[in-house]
Amino acid sequence: MRCDEARRWLDGSADEDMAEDVAAHVERCADCAHHYAEGDRLAGLLRSVGPAPMERDLWDGIQGQLRRRRSPWAWLLAPAAGLAAGALLAMLLLPPVTPSDPGALPEPVESAAFPAQAGDDPSALEEDAQVLAWHASAAAGGGLVDPWSAAIAVSALPSGEEDPS
């Protein structure tokens, strides 16, 4: 694809069939990438507007939850961890992730994510343990928890594309 074709597409044409070709060109061509980043009057208008402001600061609610955890590793020390020791080990064995590696990103965590009652949350640590136990039992077919198979199963879980419940 030539630059003029790519730019004509970027500037208005929306032929779905050409999208991948244009994307491939923009990946390679710094000039067209710059052209696109600079934008036009519409881009300028949208950027000048920015996102709608939030109406409420949510930090207090978040901080309250963080205090219960104390540190990212606090849950390791919780008694509830004993419920799913194999799964906890599996979490430790998981490789670190980057956003460009969607397959390995945080998998859906159902019960820990949305407490049933905002005013009376069950223990977050307990919830995490339950979720980990669920992953472990899913990995081991409901039977023996094997850290390695649990690790493989957890990392292979779909990224929010399926509801495992």
């Binding site: 597409w9 970027l10 208005g12 044409s13 929306a14 999208a19 991948e20 070709d21 244009v22 994307a23 491939a24 923009v26 696109y36 980043a37 009057r41 519409l42 881009a43 300028g44 208008l45 949208l46 950027r47 000048s48 507007v49 920015g50 996102p51 709608a52 939030m54 409420r56 949510l58 930090w59 978040i62 901080q63 939850q65 963080l66 955890r69 104390r70 990212p72 590793w73 849950w75 998981l94 670190p96 992730v97 980057t98 956003p99 460009s100 969607p102 990103l105 945080p106 859906p108 965590v109 159902e110 820990a112 994510a113 949305f114 905002a118 977050a124 995490d128 990224s159 929010g160 509801d163």
Partner: protein, 195 residues
């Protein structure tokens, strides 16, 4: 406090060690973009606020698994969007669909191009433009919000949405065509002075 100018990567490194203040700075830096992204799909403000909180708590729990701390901007939006998808499935919400059918009346303007820009305050202008974005189909709202309103590069948008770059570009192209129609002369008049 030199912390205010710290990079996301530096703040992530501190937060990993349990530094809540560092995590608060990450929150303050990114909560607006996360909120806007979720609001581009969901009209229930309370639900969006719940998911925003969930996303940041989930991120705190999983900071150790983020290899590149400077990728926090993409990662937190991706985490929030996944939390939203989980929640949509769970509650069987059809918010985005109903928005597509223009049943939403909360923040859609009657006609974005009706009044000349010089008669509008800046906040009125912003409301009209956001209203035009709100009338787009859900997929287009997301890319416009991330790329234009939140200022993310198209490659980062593709990462957040977990779709190919070409998909982002084609959604943006269609959204741009629609917005040009909706905002028309309003756009020309408004941006002449600034361009």
């Amino acid at each position: 406090m030199s912390g205010l100018s710290a990079t996301d990567g530096e703040l992530v490194a501190r937060a990993r060690k349990g530094d809540v203040d560092a995590f608060r700075q990450l929150y303050e830096r990114h909560v607006g973009g996360v909120y806007a992204l979720l609001r581009s799909s969901l009209r229930d403000r309370d639900l969006v606020e719940d998911i925003v909180q969930t996303a940041f708590i989930r991120a705190w729990d999983r900071l150790a698994r983020l290899r590149d701390g400077d990728a926090f901007k993409v990662w937190i939006r991706q985490t929030a969007r996944r939390a939203m998808i989980d929640e949509i499935r769970k509650r069987r919400l059809r918010e985005a669909d109903s928005l597509d059918e223009n049943e939403e009346s909360g923040h859609a303007p009657a006609d974005p191009a009706a009044a000349p820009p010089d008669a509008l305050t800046r906040s009125e202008m912003a409301e009209r433009v956001r209203g035009a974005v709100a009338e787009l189909p859900a997929h287009q709202r997301e890319v416009v919000t991330l790329h234009y309103l939140d200022g993310m590069e198209v490659k980062s948008v593709a990462q957040v949405l977990e779709v190919p770059l070409g998909t982002v570009l084609s959604r943006l192209a269609r959204a741009r065509n629609a917005l040009k129609r909706k905002l028309g002369g309003f756009m020309d008049d408004w941006t002449e002075g600034g361009a």
